[in-house]
């Protein structure tokens, strides 16, 4: 037994040494640093003052606005990701010619790096030379400023029809919406992979039985496929929410949080605070708060997985 223990610990040391230094220790440091005034170098102990500054004080406006922007971003991205992913996975699942080619194409955006893909989209969204404005022009509409447009999309649609939309209903800025369009394109392959795996787990007998009973295609989809896919749908929902809470690259590259901070998500705010403004203490407090929000979603996700394994 002793030998077994020694063998196990020897096997575990390399991985745990790395995880200890670069995961566990930093997690403790993050809390430690968040308790100090720490502008590039460590300053005076502040207790929870950094947190109160972020939640209620000098940074509260930026903080809450960034959270609202982040969840708005989630709200205009995730439903479309799930809907498109579901439909395409459903169509792709069946035996048909060229399925492999279709799959390869649909996964392609997902494996492409954000920086390269964003460089292409920046041009597609370009106010002057962009493809989208070209298409709009052929319908006699536009041009739009896309990634540079701080106005809310509902406001823009309203003013097109001569309606005055109040500020609170202005909607996400066109810039944030454009980032969302990019994001939907970029992650489509991920949802398809997950939904295809889920479809593979639905027993064929269910379909056969339903068909023998004369159920229509739509009926089969809504009463068999959708309910049996619900674990995957919840999984994609939570993991996509976590993904949005953590998203940085596409926003940094496409809008850098602008215009007028309308796409400044929480990760962008944290990045600016600690990296560009050198306010490490405040940034750490924001980071800890963001981590708590992410962990809440992670716990929900684990709960779902656990339940599914037990009863599924």
């Amino acid at each position: 037994m002793l030998a077994e223990n020694v063998a196990a610990y020897l096997f575990l040391i390399p991985a745990f040494a790395v995880l200890f230094v670069f995961k566990l220790l930093p997690a403790i440091y993050a809390i430690y640093m968040s308790l100090f005034k720490w502008d590039i170098i460590q300053g005076a102990f502040r207790g929870i003052d950094n947190y109160t500054d972020v939640l209620f004080g000098s940074r509260a406006e930026a903080w809450w606005r960034s959270l609202s922007t982040t969840f708005t971003y989630a709200a205009i991205t995730i439903p479309f990701e799930i809907a498109f992913g579901l439909v395409i996975a459903y169509v792709l699942f069946q035996k048909m010619r060229g399925r492999g080619i279709y799959r390869t194409i649909f996964y392609l955006p997902y494996i492409t790096s954000t920086v390269a893909a964003a460089a292409v989209f920046e041009w597609i969204f370009h106010p002057q030379y962009g493809l989208l404005n070209n298409i709009l022009a052929s319908f006699g509409a536009g041009p739009l400023r896309f990634l540079q447009e701080p106005d809310g999309i509902f406001q823009m649609i309203g003013s097109r029809f001569g309606l005055a939309i109040p500020d609170w209903a202005a909607g996400p800025s066109l810039a944030l919406t454009s980032v969302a369009i990019f994001s939907i394109w970029h992650f489509l392959g991920f949802q398809i992979v997950i939904f295809l795996a889920g479809l593979g787990n639905i027993p064929a007998e269910y379909y056969e039985a339903a068909r023998l009973d004369g159920a229509s295609t739509r009926k089969i989809f809504t009463s068999i496929t959708l309910p049996l896919l619900s674990p995957q749908i919840f999984f994609v929902f939570t993991i996509a929410t976590i993904g949005v809470l953590r998203s940085f690259n596409e926003i940094f590259v496409l809008t850098n949080g602008g215009p007028l901070d309308t796409s400044r998500t929480t990760t962008m705010l944290v990045f600016r605070t600690f990296f560009q403004q050198g306010q490490i203490g405040l940034g750490s407090a924001m980071g800890v708060l963001l981590t708590i929000v992410i962990l809440l979603f992670t716990l929900v996700q684990f709960r779902i997985l656990e339940r599914r394994v037990q009863y599924g």
Binding site: F11, A15, F16, V91, I111, S113, W123, Y129, G198, L295
Partner: protein, 305 residues
């Protein structure tokens, strides 16, 4: 909490395909797929076609769908405008070491969790789970501070460990030498190795190391390839971390180089598209070769990138 049930698997029991009810006709299905496929693939076509156009054609309004003139020499021009050879060499080095290193740390750890009963197993597994749940955002700032040089006159160990690795390869490698996800994935595989094999090896007097090396690993090649591909893919596309811990182009990876090139290229859009194309090319190749493993890895781990 039973650790067994919390492994983030998205249930890929098999990829067998029972017949689904047909959507009205196969023609309709192809129509949907071709329409969506065209929209999905268009940016790639746009990237490649723009990269072959001359300067004025690339920014022409409306854009030409098929390049009027082909200028493959754009690629050479883009290549010579920035230290791409260096960026690529750096990325291959970093991604290569990360991939090998992650396998070296994950394999024994996964084996220990799958096949050895030891004291403190539950505790260590819970810690592993905690590091898995900890998002990179939680550790970004402290890791960044740790990479800075020790402040003269202050301890390099307390209160904050100062590694002084800013602007080095090590800073881009060390934090990624172990991953909880890889350990989970391999553990799952190692658990599926039949106990009889283990008993037989024991009877022959083989210890854990020999059993792992000569029995478990050879039958786990697909899982190892999956872990390796996911790890390589992650390193190849890494952006935020190298962006903040490096400033010297000599050690920066391709993604950070491409981001810098966006500014350098200015309105030379055809050159930017050529650069984007050669930055994307290796990972697309890897994907075409190892699609099965990558897809399986994504389905099993739920890594969303």
């Amino acid at each position: 909490m039973n650790a067994q049930t919390t492994i983030p698997r998205t249930a890929v029991r098999s990829l067998r395909r029972p017949p689904l009810p047909p959507i009205s006709s196969s023609l309709a299905r192809h129509a949907i797929l071709i329409a969506v496929g065209a929209v999905v693939a268009y940016p790639f076509y746009f990237m490649v076609s723009s990269s072959l156009k001359p300067f004025f054609e690339a920014i022409q309004v409306p854009p030409t769908v098929i390049p009027q003139e082909l200028h493959p020499e754009n690629y050479a021009e883009a290549w010579n405008k920035a230290p791409w050879a260096r960026y690529f060499a750096n990325t291959f080095l970093i991604a290569g070491v990360n991939t090998v290193g992650e396998l070296i740390t994950s394999v024994p750890a996964a084996y220990a969790f799958a096949r050895i009963n030891f004291k403190g197993k539950t505790l260590l597994f819970t810690i592993l789970l905690a590091t898995y749940m900890m998002p990179a955002e939680a550790t970004l700032i402290p890791n960044y501070v740790m990479m800075a040089k020790p402040i003269p006159g202050q301890s390099a160990i307390f209160p904050i460990l100062r590694l002084g690795l800013y602007d080095t390869y090590q800073a881009q490698i060390l934090p990624f030498l172990a991953s909880a996800v890889s350990i989970f994935l391999l553990r799952q595989q190692f658990l599926s190795v039949p106990n009889e094999l283990h008993d037989a090896a024991r009877m022959d007097g083989a210890g854990h190391f020999r059993f792992l090396w000569s029995v478990v690993l050879p039958i786990s090649v697909p899982a190892l390839v999956t872990v390796a591909i996911l790890s390589f893919y992650g390193s190849w596309n890494a952006f935020q971390w190298p962006l903040i811990v490096t400033s010297n182009p000599d050690i920066r990876p391709v993604q950070v180089g491409l981001n810098a090139f966006r500014a350098e290229a200015g309105s030379s859009y055809h050159l930017l598209m050529a650069a984007a194309a050669f930055v994307v090319a290796p990972i697309v190749l890897l994907y075409l070769v190892g699609q099965r493993y990558l897809v399986q890895g994504v389905a099993r781990t739920g890594i969303r990138g």
